[in-house]
C-alpha cells in the first residue's frame, strides 16, 4: 500500500521542471502575441496550471501534503478571478462592441 509510485521512481524531478517551464512560456507567448482579451485570459489560465503542476510534482516527490493544499487554493482564486474577469470583458463588449485589446487603449497616456 505504501510503495513509491512508478513515475516517481523512473522520472527525475527535473523533467517536471522543464515541462512546467515550457507550459508557462507557452502561456507568456500567448499573452504577448494574441490580441483577443478572452484568449489572453485563457493563456493566464495556462500559466496558473503550469505552476499547479510544479507544486503537485514537488509535493508528491517530497511526500509533503502542503503543496497540494496550495494547489486547491490557487484553483479557488483562479475560479473567482475568471468569474469577475469575464464579467468585465462582457461589460467592455457591451460598450465598445469588441474585445480587441488594441482598441481598449483608454488608459493609455
Amino acid at each position: 500500500m505504501n510503495e513509491i509510485p512508478e513515475v516517481i521512481r523512473t522520472i527525475p524531478l527535473h523533467y517536471y521542471l522543464f515541462f512546467s517551464s515550457t507550459l508557462f512560456v507557452i502561456g507568456i507567448i500567448g499573452v504577448l502575441t494574441r490580441r483577443n482579451a478572452i484568449i489572453i485570459f485563457m493563456c493566464i489560465e495556462l500559466m496558473l496550471n503550469a505552476v499547479n503542476l510544479l507544486l503537485t510534482a514537488f509535493s508528491a516527490y517530497r511526500s509533503d501534503a502542503n503543496g497540494q493544499v496550495f494547489v486547491f487554493f490557487i484553483m479557488a482564486v483562479a475560479a473567482a478571478e475568471v468569474c469577475v474577469g469575464l464579467a468585465i470583458i462582457v461589460m467592455i463588449y457591451r460598450n465598445l462592441r469588441t474585445t480587441d485589446i488594441n482598441i481598449l487603449s483608454n488608459l493609455k497616456w
Binding site: M1, N2, I4, P5, V7, I8, R9, T10, I11, H14, L17, F18, F19, S21, L23, V25, I26, I28, I29, G30, L32, T33, R34, R35, N36, I38, I39, M42, C43, E45, L46, N49, N52, L53, T56, S59, A60, Y61, S63, A65, Q68, V69, F72, M75, A76, A78, A80, E81, V82, C83, V84, L86, A87, I88, I89, V90, M91, R94, T99, N102
Partner: protein
C-alpha cells in the same frame, strides 16, 4: 510503461497548449484548453494526487471552461471577428522571440538546480488522497479555507454588479 505514459501526456499537453495560442478560431482555443486540462489531470493521477486530479477536472475542465465557452458564444466571436483585428507581424515575432529567450534562460538556470532525492525511508504514498488532504484543510488551513468562501461571495456579488444592465445602456 509509466515512463511512456508520462511522455505521451506531456506531448499531448504541450501540443494542446500550442493549439490554444495559435488556433485562429477562439472556440477551438477553448477546446484545446479543455484537452490540456484533461491531460494535466492524467499527470496528477500519475503523481498519485487523486484529489488535485478530481478538483482539476471538476473546477477547470467543468466549470471554468463552460464559462469561457459560454462567453465566446455569447459575444459571437469567430474567425471573422478574429481576422478584422489589428495585428502586426513584428509584434508576433517579438513575442515569440522573447518567450523563447525566457525558456532558454529558465532551462539553463534550472538544469543545474539541486533538487534533492526522494526519501525512500519515510515516503508516504497516501498524501494526495482526499482523506489526508481534507484532514489538513480543516485543521491547519481552516482560516484560509473560510476566507476563500468570503472571496467567492464577493466575486459573485461583483460579477452580478458588473453584469447588471443600466437604464440608458444599449440592448444587445
Amino acid at each position: 510503461m509509466t515512463g511512456n505514459l508520462f511522455y505521451f501526456l506531456t506531448f499531448i499537453t504541450l501540443f494542446a497548449a500550442l493549439g490554444v495560442v495559435f488556433s485562429k478560431n477562439p472556440v477551438y482555443s477553448v477546446l484545446c484548453l479543455i484537452l490540456t486540462f484533461f491531460s494535466l489531470s492524467g499527470h496528477y493521477i500519475l503523481l498519485n494526487a487523486q484529489f488535485v486530479a478530481a478538483v482539476n477536472i471538476i473546477v477547470y475542465a467543468g466549470a471554468i471552461m463552460v464559462l469561457f465557452l459560454f462567453v465566446i458564444m455569447f459575444l459571437n466571436l469567430n474567425q471573422d471577428t478574429e481576422q478584422t483585428q489589428h495585428k502586426s507581424t513584428l509584434m508576433k515575432v517579438a513575442g515569440v522571440i522573447s518567450g523563447g529567450l525566457l525558456l532558454v534562460i529558465m532551462i539553463a538556470v534550472l538544469k543545474d538546480a539541486e533538487l534533492g532525492t526522494v526519501d525512500t525511508a519515510n515516503f508516504d504514498s497516501q498524501i494526495g488522497m482526499v482523506e489526508n488532504l481534507g484532514q489538513l484543510l480543516f485543521t491547519k488551513y481552516l482560516l484560509p479555507f473560510e476566507l476563500v468562501s468570503v472571496l467567492f461571495l464577493s466575486a459573485m456579488v461583483g460579477a452580478v454588479m458588473l453584469g447588471k444592465k443600466e437604464s440608458q445602456q444599449r440592448h444587445f
